[in-house]
Symmetry: C3
């Protein structure tokens, strides 16, 4: 099984689908993760892959968000337990790889990995010896998909048998920034904004324990506002802002049936802080 | 086989795909219906599911448009012949369930169910006994996909064997509003607007029988206009408005190579009326 | 295996998926090419299908960009080696059909067909005898998908056995316009603009041989500009314009991490010319 993720829009991902089907044995399943990941945003790619991939059974995950296409950045294969990830060596692959290992170790029931999953777990990285590709702008088709096909046919357990792969300790890593959390205040940042306009922060959901039903002071670059902490969107009126624990396990700044990014004035990378307020 | 439909945008549907693949036996096929259904619009979900699902062979249809996520609305499984639907108990599932039964009863050739399909047919509804989910905001991943996987593995004919399912007569129903039609006038409303800007009304296509080539008076909240009745878009010049029978079997207000919603000033829910005009 | 391409947006393609699955034997694989092809743009459809389809193993390619739906244009089946294409007879199918034959003849490694693939290769076209369809506006569901299913079950090698197909020499053809190229100047036009805003021209990439690192004079309807020729986007600073050979084998007018169509003021169909400049 393959999963496919990219920021390619359309119809470029279809070329990768064709290559995977042409160059593999059998008729492996192809499952799309998304092809509208935030364009050339390596950190967002790492976030979303880390969120989604642990839901899947063992697979080869082809994940191409690649602002450095055509530069001398390496192509990378990462083994994470029974999974493999294939894509550019720019930091986007290691966070989801660690989450895949942590997920299988925790033997959970299919729910998302908890915040904090970036604890040290073992993954194995390989640099790919790339033949000169047909195009210098479409490595998804010409480098990564053929590599993923080779990984699939060799089997994730036997990556060392592939001549084109060389074990490496120098893979580019990326750690999503941590938040400073104590009882009185959590200071962090906006990580990503989803299609709904929900602002996912890097503050662990555990910060909201015991606070549902109270108000939180939310400080953003544009000022501060008091916002109710609720368990579900329906806990406030339509159009009203709220703070809750999102499905990723992080604190989110949202609006019931509206856009949190607009209401809070937040974009990815913005700093923010939450403080519980006396009733 | 599963079909998947939601208003989740991207990349959330991939989490549901992963859960379905992780929690089922065999390697069931996944087929997307759409993940950009009109956001939190239960009526539009019912309309589109009713339009599309009858084209499919027997399947478990996971359909999540769920403005009430996190409230105490039930999770629902509906059996419709050899099909099952899984999603929130908000009315979105029963209209397509009835269409699936009507379709298989009429033994048609794969065309869409005729308007009026909401006639009384028998479907069987079950409330789902939901364990506390991992997230209160993403029941697609944590409640509905695991339920759909369980339904798939148990088999649609054996839903009563699933401990988590309890037959119910109280499922929320939703009847798409009917039109008032006589020979001189059809009064109804705009049901949905599609990606092309075509305005689908609830007036049955049969109202236009014998009227192709004539003009119709179209009354909307913004005034009235005379519009030609044609069999195909090409029956008027590019950019001109037209009235025709859409592929759903309903009267549509369209523009050839343009947007009907703009030209007619219509949005879902708007009232409208059609009257044949003397030549 | 089927591939599916259209300009239908969502959720109409799901109806075609359902028909293909309902009306074929076995459980054929469905792979999406794209459903957001430029709306009613036959030339863009031909371009993108020619780009993507040669990556695929033998398949039945259902491709519906059909501004003439409901007129008396024919439905067409084209056999291209072990592939078949099914869609409207408007010129969109023959260029990719020729590319599929050229690709298999060249026994390449999965890379895209080179520019100039429209050389004469043999393909076989059949007009489809269409029964009166259920709808006059949705032939994707009512005409082309059932035809594709019949082609699939009959087998591409045995199309002559299908009563509904009649060999034809009158299929509408479409030749993407050629460029006038000599050593000093290449005059051509913008063919398509992709999701990234990259402007694909019809000037073969070979025109840039030996010019990487130099500047090119680019003449457009809005004036002229000197632009560096680079091998990859990263060859210029973020936000700067560039000219390079795209993954289709044609010269592209792009911006590193920006939109080429905006920077060059180009839209599909615009004339343009490139001239090497003395250092």
């Amino acid at each position: 099984m393959f999963t496919l993720a990219s920021d390619f829009g359309s119809p470029y991902p279809a070329a990768m689908r064709g290559v995977l089907l042409s160059e593999t044995d059998g008729e492996p399943r192809l499952v799309d993760v998304a092809h509208d990941l935030p364009r050339q945003d390596v950190r967002a790619a790492a976030f979303w892959l880390r969120f989604v991939l642990p839901e899947f059974p063992p697979a080869v995950h082809l994940a191409v968000v690649d602002p450095g296409v055509g530069t001398d950045r390496d192509a990378l294969v990462v083994r994470a337990g029974e999974h493999a990830l294939v894509g550019p060596d720019n930091g986007s692959l290691l966070p989801p790889a660690r989450a895949l290992v942590a997920e299988s170790a925790s033997d959970t029931d299919g729910s998302a990995p908890a915040a904090g999953v970036d604890a040290d777990v073992e993954v194995e990285a390989f640099a790919v010896d790339v033949e000169s590709p047909a195009s210098s702008t479409f490595h998804g088709r010409d480098v990564f998909a053929p590599t993923a096909a080779a990984v699939h046919d060799a089997g994730v357990a036997d990556l060392r048998a592939l001549d084109a792969l060389t074990p490496t300790d120098d893979a580019v890593d990326l750690r999503l920034p941590g938040a400073d959390v104590d009882d009185d205040r959590a200071a962090g940042e906006a990580l990503v904004v989803d299609d709904f306009g929900n602002v996912v922060t890097n503050v662990p959901g555990s910060f909201l324990e015991g606070l549902v039903g109270t108000e939180l002071l939310v400080e953003t670059p544009h000022g501060s506002m008091r916002v109710p902490v609720v368990e579900t969107f329906a806990g406030v009126d339509s159009g009203d802002p709220l703070v809750t624990v999102g499905s990723h396990g992080y604190v989110e700044c949202d609006v019931n049936q509206g856009r949190g990014d607009d209401a809070f004035g937040l974009a990815p990378g913005d700093e923010l802080a939450f403080s519980p307020q006396p009733e």
